[in-house]
Symmetry: C2
Subunit: 366 residues, 2 copies
DNA sequence: TTGTAAGCGTTATCAA
DNA sequence: TTGATAACGCTTACAA
């Protein structure tokens, strides 16, 4: 393992000079510097091999170090969902070429915080947790000496305490509702996933977006836009490739059919995500009802397909620029780590409606 | 930042004693040790905060350090495939509770090796690359001073140079072929994905497995088991949630229909994975042929579903214990890192046929 | 422009 | 059973 002293000896020079030269300090003459660099290369000097020594010295002088390591915290089971996969893809797209390593941390309360955090080896954290779930994590991390006040960026969820990159939920729901209204639907039902411990800002924004679209059509939301409280499991991924996993087949229940009995005028559904849209579709099929002949469904996220017999996705959905969000969050993180960005930057991206076969003009129902 | 010296001063004792006590050295009397530990806790001493110092000292005495960091190398786009997701899930299941951090590294040639490798901060590597693709990576890593000869474990692919945990491909193909033969099919076609730069051992094992099943039925493989060279893209995931990605809709071509014209006796297909099985299914549908009425298809991996209108997966497939493989590989890695396992351990796991709606008894075709 | 010296916090050796 | 000392390789303040 070749050290700066080895190089110094070989050059008949002092180690300090080598240290300065290697970092391109202007106090060392260009010729000396060049010679030292040449010898260093020749001897195969590898600066990163001596990271601990450098860290100690830096610490002594009260400096921070960049590790080129970014942690990414995702909810459990994220790996099985295309939604998170797309975000993740964007993150890696940006970080990898810059030489950053990506550390995956589920950061659930039940596992210990990986020692890499305590060691101060992580430069920052990207995460995808809603505010309520993230509060305890944030507290833990902030209290971890090795992490301290390093930057965090939230993906998809708004945050009051740090940066966020997310989508315009209001606009997305507006697009979905408007699409159905333009097709002629007049009585819509918006899915609502009630989970009392989760941040409601996103759902509220979506509800307001749909209401706005209804109002813009001169209709009264109270009458023309109902809420349908979906079974909790509809939100989950349909299929998990886990031997013995519970959700091999979707839960095909009839709460939706019951809802339609109670509200027979409803013809259009705004789902909470694609999985719930597809579950609803299956439920309608099971009841002998047809999409889009009898009912129209709009998914959300555009990450899960509903194939027809020929492999064409039929699910109309609101496409989220998830990969781009991952990319932007990662770029923002790099800027924060390198001190080029403000710690409270927020970015909001627009969605795009992908019209497909699950939506059509309504026909008169009995 | 509290140091051993701080503790020593507070105890009116020498720092060396603190060092020994903290590591439970028997030379320090139990009472002293206990007292020191108590004070250390009180003062909030965090050993991992001083990792660099410890590393330097360790290095000086020629010791290795455990970082509790394992790298996982997966092929590009792995994040969008359930196959890799399941492997990954297993890995994380085991590593996370043990306090290991998981570093994701695509390790493609075009990005620089993350500095974390050069620094010696990675304890070992789990990877999922076939031998031919992995050879250059392995060379690079072995030549990286910070990684050197640390352990590697291969998932799914056999390796001559290091550990592997994989499945019994021969047995899996045997199960699939036997299933079709037992249903009464007598003329089978096995999918073959020709990519000349990839390790063929796996495909060879599967072909031999299917041949064996045919022979065990008293039939001649040369006549009763054909190979169908599938379009390259059939192997890829059907749906990628990437804005503007190329593969939004499957390629529904007719090479399979052409094949059936040339070999009209064929009634049963052994796919190379689930995606190719589903693509084949779509192709048959497009040609007005029906599964399983006219043809039976067996997938492989059991990671991608083919839903009927009610959300029930119809694809018969060979289930791979992917999560378990991830778990075993991770456990093996921990054993290697802690010096408890041999460096050439191999594990082979069995598959299980999941019979569903895509296979049935053949009927007489025109 | 270059050299000197001190110190970061730990571990291991050796002396007490 | 405990204490003193030297080193690991680097960065920086200061002296030459």
């Amino acid at each position: 393992m070749v050290t700066q002293r080895d190089i110094a000896q070989r050059c008949g020079i002092h180690q300090t000079t080598v240290s300065l030269a290697l970092r391109g300090d202007p106090r060392i003459s260009p010729e000396t510097t060049e010679h030292i660099l040449k010898i260093a290369r020749e001897m195969g000097y590898d600066p990163s091999a001596h990271a601990p020594a450098r860290r100690m010295a830096a610490h002594r002088h009260g400096h921070e170090v960049r590790n080129h390591v970014i942690a990414v915290a995702m909810p459990p089971q994220f790996i099985h969902m295309h939604y998170y996969a797309a975000l993740f893809q964007g993150i890696v797209d940006v970080l990898e070429p810059e030489g950053y390593a990506v550390v995956l941390a589920s950061l659930r309360g039940d596992s210990p915080l990986p020692t890499i955090f305590n060691r101060g080896d992580v430069d920052g954290l990207l995460h995808c947790h809603d505010a309520k779930h993230f509060v305890p994590l944030e507290a833990t991390l902030r209290a971890t000496p090795g992490f301290g006040d390093r930057p965090m960026v939230s993906l998809m969820w708004p945050s009051d305490t740090h940066c966020a990159v997310r989508i315009d939920d209001h606009g997305g729901a507006y697009q979905a509702a408007r699409h159905l209204l333009e097709l002629g639907h007049r009585h819509l039902a918006q899915f609502f996933g009630h989970s009392d411990d989760s941040d409601l800002r996103v759902q509220n924004a979506r509800q307001e977006g749909a209401r706005q679209a209804v109002r813009d059509f001169g209709l009264d939301p109270a009458e023309h836009l109902l809420l349908f409280d979906i079974p909790g499991r509809w939100i989950s991924p349909l299929w998990r490739p886990v031997a013995g996993a519970p959700a091999e087949r979707p839960i095909v229940g009839d709460p939706l059919v019951q809802f339609l009995r109670d509200h027979p005028q409803t013809t259009g559904f705004l789902a909470i995500n694609d999985a719930s849209a597809i579950q609803a579709w299956f439920s309608l099929n099971a009841a002998g009802l047809r999409v889009p002949d009898d009912y129209s469904i709009v998914g959300f996220d555009d990450v899960d397909p509903m194939y027809d017999d020929f492999g064409h996705n039929q699910l109309t959905s609101v496409r989220l620029p998830l990969v781009e969000i991952g990319r932007r969050a990662a770029r923002l993180m790099i800027d924060l780590v390198t001190g080029k960005a403000d710690d409270l930057a927020h970015q909001v991206l627009e969605t795009q409606l992908m019209a497909r076969g699950s939506t059509a003009a309504p026909r008169n129902l009995p």
